[in-house]
């Protein structure tokens, strides 16, 4: 890959020609890491491991939880009551803090999550948040104009649906359990998981429809 990976592998300075192209903040990050390593606060190995750990978390984890909730209603009840304990059943570690909370979409209730004060997000199950989730415009408008925001994401809701916006202002991290799409009765749990998008677990869209799955498979890279 690029020179930064080379550095991760060999823990030495970048070649001088690559180094000049790094931005100020890139170079400052390197400098801070180098100093912290020199002072014995962290090691380069630990940084490497941590990057790998964070990289390994993806929305596919959250999708598995949702798919299980769709096929096993007793699991869903446990998930809604105590999400931390329920996801542990599936082998996921949501951590001591912050606290994972699952909220369920129904035909009459649609949930959407934001953190207006910063960028709190259920990283343990979804990985890193998308840029737009952390943007000043999403943080501002999700609370005051959620339907306008949903429209931008292509989702129109009827006036009789209750839109519930969760502002993650403290130690809880909200995960939306979207509604199971119609026409999916024949699908396996794994197939159901592939319908569950990251954005549907934030609440700005609905999951994929089964028809879209066929399109995805056709378009998938080799």
């Amino acid at each position: 890959m690029d020179h930064a990976d080379h550095e991760l592998a060999h823990d030495r300075h970048a070649p001088i020609e690559d180094r000049e192209e790094l931005t100020y903040y890139e170079r400052r990050t390197w400098a801070i890491q180098a100093l912290l390593v020199e002072k014995g606060v962290i090691t380069a190995d630990e940084v490497r491991q941590q990057i790998e750990t964070v990289d390994a978390r993806t929305p596919a984890d959250g999708a598995k939880v949702v798919a299980r909730a769709w096929v096993d209603l007793a699991f869903k009840a446990r998930l809604l009551h105590d999400a931390k304990a329920a996801v542990t059943e599936l082998g996921f570690d949501s951590g001591e803090s912050p606290v994972l909370v699952a909220v369920e979409n129904t035909p009459k209730v649609h949930n959407v999550v934001v953190c207006t004060l910063c960028s709190c997000y259920p990283r343990a199950l979804l990985g890193l948040p998308p840029d737009w989730y952390k943007s000043l415009s999403y943080r501002s408008r999700a609370v005051v104009d959620p339907r306008g925001v949903l429209q931008e994401f292509g989702l129109e809701l009827e006036p009789d649906v209750e839109v519930r916006v969760y502002d993650s202002s403290a130690d809880m991290r909200y995960l939306v359990i979207p509604e199971r799409p119609p026409g999916t009765e024949h699908m396996s749990e794994a197939e159901l998981a592939s319908l569950v998008t990251r954005d549907s677990m934030i609440g700005v869209t609905k999951p994929r429809a089964p028809e879209q799955l066929a399109d995805l498979k056709a378009a998938a890279p080799a």
Binding site: T116, V144, E162, V163, V165, D167, S169, A170, D171, M172
Partner: protein, 94 residues
């Protein structure tokens, strides 16, 4: 120490702008809502943010508001809600 509020209680969010770090956004301050849930007791971020130990822990509540009572322009035909986690010391009975 028992929690001061329980689900179903009507509460008003205090108004304030302490000099340090706090987690009560301006847009809900002064607004009245209903306690939806009690999450439990958590270390106080206002202390933790400045090197304190976060004690005593504060009860943390999920408070539910009608969007129409939070925003003057929100369409009154809609039943939409705003839910946010607020620490006990920011709540008063309403």
């Amino acid at each position: 120490m028992a929690a001061k509020f329980q689900p179903g209680d009507t509460v008003r969010i205090r108004v304030g702008s302490p000099p340090g770090h706090f987690r009560t956004p301006a847009y809900v301050q002064g607004k009245t809502g209903v306690v939806e849930a009690l999450h439990g007791a958590f270390p106080n971020p206002e202390s933790l943010a400045h090197g304190g130990d976060g004690l005593p822990k504060q009860f943390l509540y999920l408070v539910r508001f009608d969007q129409t009572s939070v925003w003057p322009q929100y369409p009154t035909t809609l039943q939409d809600k705003l839910l946010i986690d607020i620490y006990e010391h920011w709540l008063e009975p309403a």
